[in-house]
């Protein structure tokens, strides 16, 4: 095995040098802004998302539809709940998994889902994350019919939903069930990837970078057979984006 020192020394020699030098012109090419700048960028992105929330929600609706989301702009909470219930009935869902996003609580879906004949469960471990518990969650996710999440951010430019898995937000809830429903509130939509990575950079600089991040833009798809696009290869076959009205 090549050890680190030997491997890197080889690279240094390959670059025609004898020792590792810290890059000089780092800020010219790479986004190594200091913490204060990173913070300022993130604040700017957040303010922008709030101030332009209406426009960004409109753009999000348009781009998400292009990306393959079935977009529903709910006029109010009741409308949103009814939409979710309709999907449950349509899919003959018996098991629905949810994340602990506030947006879901805000519209209050539980009664409607139960009335539709499905059980609504969270994946939350409540602090207990033994391997046995994880295995149990996994099999629950793989057998669930629908996964419901909120969003941590959305990106208007590309119709993307961003999720940072954590306690209460399983990585699988938006992946394993054949149908995923994401509930979006105005103000959660960022302009573009630039703003998203500005937020991420700031989280990183302040020591709060999440363990992982998923950008989701439509249903799982492939074009590996004769270039024909088919949705639903490994992830959800159908994804719904419910955009709540500004209340």
């Amino acid at each position: 095995m090549a050890d680190r020192a030997k491997f890197i020394a080889g690279v240094t020699a390959g670059l025609g040098r004898t020792e590792v030098l810290s890059p000089t012109s780092i800020t010219e090419t790479a986004g190594f802004e200091d913490a204060a700048t990173a913070k300022a960028n993130a604040v700017k992105a957040s303010i922008d998302a709030l101030e332009r929330s209406k426009d960004l929600a409109d753009q999000m609706a348009e781009e998400a539809a292009k990306a393959g989301w079935k977009v529903h702009r709910a006029s109010n909470s009741e409308d949103a709940v009814n939409y979710v219930a309709r999907i449950c009935i349509e899919k003959k869902a018996t098991s629905v998994l949810r994340s602990n996003h506030d947006a879901i609580d805000q519209i209050g879906v539980e009664a409607a889902i139960t009335n539709a004949g499905a059980t609504l469960e969270t994946t939350e471990h409540h602090g207990e994350n033994s391997q046995a518990q994880i295995e149990k969650s996994k099999s629950k996710a793989f057998s669930a019919d629908i996964g419901i999440t909120g969003v941590d951010y959305a990106i208007a430019e590309t119709g993307t939903v961003v999720l940072h898995p954590r306690s209460g937000l399983s990585r699988l809830v938006s992946l394993a069930p054949p149908t995923h429903i994401a509930v979006l509130r105005p103000g959660e939509v960022l302009d573009s990837l630039d703003e998203l990575f500005a937020m991420e950079r700031n989280d990183f600089m302040s020591g709060e970078l999440a363990g992982s991040m998923n950008l989701i833009s439509g249903p799982s798809k492939t074009a590996d057979i004769e270039g024909t696009t088919v949705t639903g290869i490994h992830g959800p076959l159908e994804v719904h984006l419910v955009i709540l009205a500004d209340e």
Partner: protein
């Protein structure tokens, strides 16, 4: 993977004669190439993004030792382990050892060209691990016992009937050929259980972020997400060049990668993982291992004429743009990396002597350079490699030109070094070829032009040169 670059010409000839494959590869132009053009056209600052992407990669490669150190520190800080492999064998052995040690049963592989360099899936299967490629294209290729045809569309040469034969146990020739959706659903069905029981994943790395120790994976299918979620062990493998310095660089790099690869503005999934599962997470791997492989990249790094090839982000745009790739297909190149970028990387990583046809198989049209999201000047490097095979310019061992070929170019030079000789040479050729011609064209010419006339008529050299025709005009000026 054992290089078979020496068979370029015979493999190319087979593909040229295969009408079904010719029709299948057409998709790389009508689908990917056109898609990239549209996506680039719709991106107002496209050229700036390319310039920025190139600057990021230039900077990273110029400071690769520093960033490798930074990346390693941060992966370890996140609780992962980093293994440095000098070559593919070391990398493969390490992963096998790891799988044995951790008592792994089922391995899911996400698409990774670096793992192809290692011949990893085959080796793991040989050692008794259930090893399944999960990218649909790779899965098809694995079932067919072939190697990927394209960097991002491994099974682009396969027809639906081919796929049906591999996926559908009941399918017989003559049956109705299932459509792409039916075939995809068959694969979904077969792979779902594998995902659920997998205890180890091997993925590639689209970008490794040095400052945070994160890796970014770009997929449409979701197998990348499955791989970073379900198994208890995640092994990510990368070529040592696949680094970006900062989180913010992902914004630029993802934009240019995805647009250039498929013409999408974003892939369905972009997954960023920072090592193993965090304590508050509900699932995710307990162990994260990053394997950083050299496997000959050092030679590209050391070579000022070829270093730029390490900027490659493996989008496949140069393949889609290349008129040669679109005719000879991916297998002719004989190793992991086909197409224009493969014609540079493959000879250096596997030996130029056997791969001398790869840089020659180009009309130097420059479509690859135009298409490259990080502006790699591929034609320049092809010419550089031709210099080496023609004259052994950097290493005499690499000279594969024949004495006859060298003689022809020597004679050419002598002919070009004086106008009299230039004229006399042309007149001799003109007179010699005249009797073979009709209406100013030759149907069959002697060597070295016989190659040309095997498929095309050749024009007879004019009876008088331009110089003699312009004689009444001014002569040499001072």
């Amino acid at each position: 993977m054992k290089p078979l670059t020496v068979n370029f010409r015979s493999k190319a000839a087979l593909t040229l004669a295969d009408a079904q494959i010719q029709q299948s590869i057409e998709h790389v132009y009508t689908g990917f190439f056109k898609g990239r053009l549209t996506a680039a056209g719709e991106t107002p600052d496209w050229e700036n993004l390319r310039t920025k992407g190139k600057a990021i990669k230039d900077h990273t490669i110029a400071n690769l030792d520093y960033y490798l150190g930074l990346l390693t520190d941060n992966v370890e800080k996140n609780g992962g382990s980093v293994f440095f492999a000098d070559d593919a064998e070391e990398a493969r052995q390490h992963i096998l050892d790891l799988a044995h040690k951790l008592k792994i049963k089922t391995v899911i592989k996400s698409k990774s060209m670096v793992s192809e360099e290692m011949g990893l899936a085959e080796a793991m299967t040989d050692e008794g691990f259930e090893t399944v490629e999960t990218d649909l294209g790779e899965y098809i290729i694995q079932l067919a016992n072939e190697t990927p045809y394209h960097l991002i569309a491994p099974a682009v040469h396969k027809s639906r009937a081919d796929v049906a034969r591999l996926l559908d146990d009941d399918y017989k020739d003559g049956d109705r050929v299932p459509d792409a959706t039916e075939l995809t659903m068959m694969a979904r069905e077969k792979l779902r259980g594998v995902f659920e029981r997998a205890d180890m994943s091997v993925t590639g790395v689209n970008f490794a972020v040095a400052e945070s120790g994160s890796i970014a994976l770009v997929t449409n299918e979701g197998n990348g997400r499955m791989s970073t979620t379900v198994p208890r062990v995640h092994v990510a493998v990368m070529g040592m060049e696949k680094i970006v310095p900062s989180i913010q660089d992902l914004s630029t790099m993802l934009r240019i990668l995805i647009r250039s690869a498929t013409g999408q503005r974003i892939s369905t999934y972009v997954t960023m993982v920072n090592g193993k599962r965090k304590p508050d997470e509900e699932e995710g791997p307990e162990e994260f291992h990053l394997v950083i492989m050299n496997n000959g990249r050092q030679k590209l790094l050391e070579d000022p004429q070829l270093r730029e090839s390490l900027n490659c982000i493996r989008c496949g745009a140069c393949l889609n743009a290349c008129p040669v790739y679109r005719k000879v297909g991916g297998h002719a190149y004989g190793w992991v990396y086909p197409g224009p970028i493969g014609a540079i990387v493959t000879p250096v990583l596997t030996g130029l002597k056997d791969a001398d046809n790869l840089p020659s198989a180009s009309s130097l049209c420059g479509a690859c350079h135009d298409a490259c999201p990080v502006k790699i000047n591929i034609p320049r490097m092809l010419l550089e490699l031709r210099y080496r095979t023609a004259e052994g310019s950097t290493d005499k061992v690499e000279r594969t030109s024949s004495a006859k070929e060298r003689g022809i170019w020597k004679a050419w030079r002598m002919g070009m070094m004086g106008r009299k000789r230039f004229d006399i040479g042309s007149r001799i050729a003109s007179i010699a070829l005249k009797p073979l011609s009709r209406n100013g064209w030759l149907k069959k010419a002697p060597p070295p032009l016989s190659g040309w006339t095997s498929t095309r008529d050749f024009p007879v050299i004019a009876a008088s040169s331009l110089k003699s025709r312009l004689k009444k005009r001014s002569g040499d000026l001072k």
